[in-house]
Subunit: 251 residues, 2 copies
DNA sequence: CCCACCAGATTGGTAGGGCCAATTTGACAA
DNA sequence: TTGTCAAATTGGCCCTACCAATCTGGTGGG
């Protein structure tokens, strides 16, 4: 058993704490059971109902528009888009920022996407890594070692290692997607590593992966990443099984 | 040679035509050579310089913030983020919407990400497709056939087919990413299919892929997708080679 | 009875002014 | 040199007003 965490917060850091007006609008939409294509109240009415100024509403709607959750039609109104068909990945990030949990299906899908991207990405990293990439990976490893030794929550160390590997792919577009993924799963990752026993194992796998990437052994690195991800995936699938009775939150 | 296009626009449709204030701010940033971490002028000053109201500035900044290109620090200012490290995929979509072309590296990276996602995605589609997915795929094929027969630009047909396959993965998160990809490459795709000779070949490959997905032959479907994408990739890599001398635009 | 037409209401888009709280800055005093 | 406090600056937010386009409903002509 790792040493008891002494004064470590029991909640993951919430750095950005976005204005919650977006959340209130989403809640309003959810409460009204508005479905794709339906029209939201006018900006003026929303402002009145939510007791904020119209400018604030406009700003929030602009955000929702950029993540393709709504569509503004001048002189007509604001319409809900088919969120599962049109929504962007950032729509999920936005929801996560606001504390709205993803549902179980989304978590499974996210895990699946992660496996696809990171396994293939690790292979690319093994082929293309440069000195600066290796340095970042090694730095992440070092921070991880200290965190394991200190019994701290491993979540940010884990994220930094994976982001460093994603950076080593030398593919900035892939990195953007992976980055969004880690923003999306901050809370989940934090809870996953709340059990201090997971950290040492993860760190070991990270070290092995880093060695393979250093050696330029792309295939081995990819295989190690696949194995590494399977540990976490197993945990989540088990958790989702347990929650079948009625639980819905998972973020 | 396909029949000459009679009255077909020479530019792809630009449905959304976002407010270009975001573009003007980006131009302002580019012009000032602002780099990551630097502070933008205050909202009031930006409003004055760009000759718009502060509300408009605030909306644009809110958009840039959601795609993680800037960070607003209350009582301090607006700061540029490390766009290649923090930026979201939607930041690229935003740029594409605004008509700012991606640079060559980004195009290559996008192509690479596409291959990873769509090849793996097609395999999943072959395993999970439901009746409704097959219906959408077949509908896309039918529209494609008509477009080929009529000699129309195949771009939207191509996109719809690929989006239908992505939907058949039953992974909404993956679908979001693929969707963003197709938003990003609308213009490029349009130009690619401006040469009418590419459409019949693409349509044939689509038909073969659809058959494999229908049959539930996931491995074959994935292989067909890989081959299909290689045709387009070859074209782009060739184009990028030609442009080495000085060209920079590629969107 | 039907349809074309027009005025008023509604809507998103935008400008501009003002207030607040928090931070930064710099002058002043010990 | 150092501590302190007031003024300027900044993002966050509210409010009013105006515009252009759209939508609505009623009216008048056929």
């Amino acid at each position: 058993m790792p040493p008891a965490h002494t004064a470590i917060s029991v909640q993951p850091a919430r750095e950005d704490e976005r204005s919650d007006l977006v959340a209130r609008i989403l809640a309003f939409v959810a409460e009204r059971r508005l479905t794709s294509g339906e029209r939201l109240p006018s900006e003026r009415e929303l402002a009145e109902r939510l007791e904020v100024g119209r400018n604030a509403i406009r700003e929030a709607i602009a955000v929702l528009e950029t993540v393709r959750m709504v569509e503004r039609r001048p002189n007509s109104g604001i319409y809900l888009r088919a969120m599962d068909r049109d929504g962007s990945l950032d729509a999920l990030v936005l929801r996560a920022d606001l504390g709205v949990p993803l549902d179980e299906a989304e978590v499974s899908e996210l895990i699946e996407l992660r496996r696809i991207l990171e396994v293939q990405g690790t292979e690319l990293a093994g082929l293309r890594r440069r000195e600066e990439d290796l340095a970042r990976i090694d730095a992440a490893l070092e921070v991880g070692r200290r965190a394991v030794a200190a019994g701290e929550n491993f979540a940010t160390c884990d994220a930094e290692f994976h982001l460093a590997v994603a950076a080593a792919t030398r593919n900035s577009v892939l990195r953007r997607v992976v980055n969004s993924f880690y923003l999306l799963s901050r809370t989940r990752r934090w809870h996953y590593f709340a059990d201090g026993r997971r950290a040492p194992e993860a760190q070991r796998q990270h070290e092995a992966m880093a060695a393979a990437i250093h050696a330029g052994n792309a295939t081995a690195a990819a295989g190690l990443m696949r194995a590494h991800l399977q540990s976490a995936e197993a945990y989540w699938h088990e958790l989702l099984q347990q929650r079948l009775p009625g639980g819905k939150a998972a973020s």
